[in-house]
């Protein structure tokens, strides 16, 4: 009988779709040894039965969670199906986060109980070590810090994970400890408990915030959506960043305790979170604070919507809309730490970071309601330099951003609210170049024209565009992470 070892090392993409004969499959297969008297058979349409699935290399991982991930393999009916299901099982095993690598070996059955069309599938796995550590140094806005990370993957054998991160900086220290446990067999249903202390400095509001908190969250999918239910208890300490902070910000200094329940729903059909080419994203988030303790009471809603469509000549059109509302409950006014902020390279380009809306003596106080939207067109670089290689990472980017941030008088009706949000719209348009950095960040270099600037807003375009020299322009150069947090903000202006 022919002995046909098939070793599938990396991903099987692209799966051989056409090609009935064995030669096409053999792209990644190893050498086929055919004994002289064996017959070459066309295997694709042949019925097979998976008789055994072996696992090599399991240490502390418990059997039951493995069983769930590989149960589908037994249902395969023909060889292509076996390969596909094994590949899927491999992906599932890898996403548990407990194995360093997984190799799949499909072989014919040997032994006494072997059927003539029986197959054995063997998964050779290498478990991650009990403890992994990492050490990084980060340099950010006027601060340097050491970050130490410790991870205990697969703590009790069922893909539980404990991570600890500690950051020691020149100005602040922060830490986080988190415990994560998925449901065996349904990795998307999981819960985690986090303990953290984070500090943040917000120069646009002259505010310094230290949060010490504990949170528990449950994630579960329903059909195509993924939901998160979270309870969070946070001790917040607010302070002034400088002695020159405005009195409105000084009045917010002090301690408060927020205990809130929140629910988030995400539907994401995009092919990537950075520069997606197709698909849509819808995120809806609500948070209710004050009914489980604490002294902060509000209801907060926000949503984000994004639609991407591929057009002719490799260009992509993207439309996005996001907005939110904060309703304080009771007679205490909302806290500066809960309000929304708008402006900057992540929302309305051309305006300084979070520098739109209500402000006092130059400090931005945030607002209780906002909306923002953008229309983007991404095209390949003109004349396509470096095509097929480095040049593909760059895209030309044309954009139109708009938004508004204000405080609503909740006594008025919805008509009055809409009216207030529609007056004094800030908007900007421009063009630039986008560089995609892996799957986490994008680097943008833009040329913007902010419009609809209201008194008090801070924008980055100081000179009158129409009357000055071509050289006296301002360019934005910033790094944007996939969660819309700008990390590095550099503005370069060329004098006449």
């Amino acid at each position: 009988m022919g002995h046909i070892p098939l070793k599938c090392k990396q991903s099987l993409e692209p799966l051989p779709m056409g090609g009935p004969d064995f030669g096409a499959l053999g792209e990644e297969a190893e050498l086929v040894e055919v004994e002289p008297e064996a017959k070459q058979e066309i295997l694709e349409n042949k019925d097979v039965v998976v008789q055994h699935v072996h696992f090599d290399g399991l240490g502390r991982t418990k059997d039951d969670i493995i069983m769930y991930e590989i149960s589908d393999v037994f249902k395969a009916k023909n060889l292509i199906d076996v390969m596909r299901k094994s590949h899927e099982a491999r992906e599932k095993l890898l996403r548990l986060g407990i194995f360093r690598q997984v190799e799949v070996l499909i072989d014919t059955c040997q032994g006494d109980d072997a059927l003539p069309n029986g197959l054995d599938v063997t998964f050779e796995v290498t478990e991650l070590r009990r403890l992994t550590g990492s050490y990084n140094t980060m340099v950010g806005n006027n601060e340097g810090s050491m970050v130490l990370g410790l991870k205990f993957p697969n703590l009790f054998g069922r893909a539980e994970k404990v991570t600890f991160q500690f950051s020691y900086g020149t100005k602040e220290t922060s830490y986080g400890l988190s415990f994560f446990k998925p449901q065996p067999g349904k990795f998307e249903r999981n819960f985690s408990v986090n303990l953290y202390k984070v500090t943040g400095q917000f120069p646009w509001s002259s505010l310094r915030e230290t949060d010490r908190g504990i949170s528990t969250e449950f994630n579960f999918p329903i059909w195509k959506t993924s939901h998160t239910l979270k309870w969070e208890g946070v001790w917040r300490e607010l302070g002034c960043l400088a002695r020159t902070a405005s009195f409105s910000v000084r009045e917010e200094s002090g301690h408060s305790l927020k205990s809130s329940l929140s629910h988030a729903m995400v539907i994401d059909s995009r092919n990537s979170s950075i520069l997606p080419r197709r698909g849509a994203l819808l995120k809806i988030n609500q948070e209710l604070a004050g009914y489980t303790g604490g002294d902060v009471s509000f209801l907060k809603e926000d949503f984000e919507f994004q639609l991407n469509k591929q057009l002719l000549w490799d260009s992509v059109f993207s439309a996005s809309l996001w907005g939110g509302m904060l309703v304080p409950i009771g007679d205490k006014p909302s806290s500066i730490a809960d309000r929304f902020y708008l402006g900057g390279p992540t929302s309305v380009r051309g305006f300084s970071m979070y520098s739109i809306g209500p402000q006092s003596e130059g400090d931005y106080l945030g607002g209780e309601a906002y909306w923002a939207g953008g229309l983007h067109l991404y095209t390949p670089l003109p004349f396509r330099p470096g095509r097929g290689g480095f040049g593909d990472l760059f895209r030309t980017h044309f954009f139109l951003n708009a938004g508004n941030l204000c405080n609503l008088n909740y006594g008025d009706g919805p008509r009055a609210h809409l009216q207030k949000l529609a007056e004094y719209i800030r908007w900007s348009y421009g063009a630039g170049i986008v560089l995609r950095l892996g799957n986490i960040a994008r680097l943008e270099l833009n040329y913007c024209f902010p419009m609809g600037v209201q008194s008090g807003d801070r924008f980055v375009f100081y000179t009158n565009f129409f009357s000055s020299n071509w050289f006296q322009r301002l360019l934005h150069f910033y790094l944007v992470l996939s969660e819309r947090i700008a990390v590095f903000n550099f503005v370069y202006s060329m004098p006449v």
Binding site: W235, F247, E251, S253, H255
Partner: protein
Amino acid sequence: MSLVAEAFVTQLAAAEPWPENAALYQQLKEEQILLSDNASSLAVQAFLQMCNLPIRVVCRANAEYMSPSGKVPFIHVGNQVVSELGPIVQFVKAKGHSLSDGLDEVQKAEMKAYMELVNNMLLTAELYLQWCDDVTVEEITHPRYGSPYPWPLNRILSYQKQWEVRRKMKAIGWAGKTLEQVLEDVDQCCQALSQRLGTQPYFFNKQPTELDALVFGHLFTILTTQLTTDELSEKVKNYSNLTAFCRRIEQQYFEGHDKDSATTVAARSAKRSLLR
């Protein structure tokens, strides 16, 4: 602040006259404020009354954290924020009001020395009693200090503050003292003040100075705040000229004024036991 910044701020301060809406911030009168903070606040109020500068008292639960130096009281004048009696005296002087201009150099040095005595003895004794005497801490300080905050924040903040004050006591060598020794120190301080005051209406000549405001603030608060024991107020009551001094200043500067100041003096943290 650096000397240059201080000079700059003084210039700014001098430029504007005293506004009508000047405000003094302290903690909540009825439920939250403690003995030492009350004394400091009253001293500043007395000083401003003596200078004839209008001020209204605003009570905020987070006054301690709003203050640029972390201590109450602080005043918000125009767009300047100044905290504690010493800097406030300087600030008011830059605006052209001063109580101690008529004193010569020797008297000024003496005044500073007595103010230091009050701060080092009386204020520290008050802090000791509030934060290091277990009975007082349990029954008065912890409930009051954390009262505006929900559980567990009220306990956390109280313990944090207690730890901070005890550390400071250790640093100045008061941690090893017993309550009796502290009361002895208070007695000695009152004796020194009483001797200096003698039969005069105020400490220096016939005009009040910031020393009078400071002494009034502390002594009046000690006399009118009900603690777990009366020992502290008894020490002050031993000196009749001091109690007469307090009564005199209260009558002159706080009664008969607008309703705000009267309520400030009258509605303090405990029953009035002094003047009746």
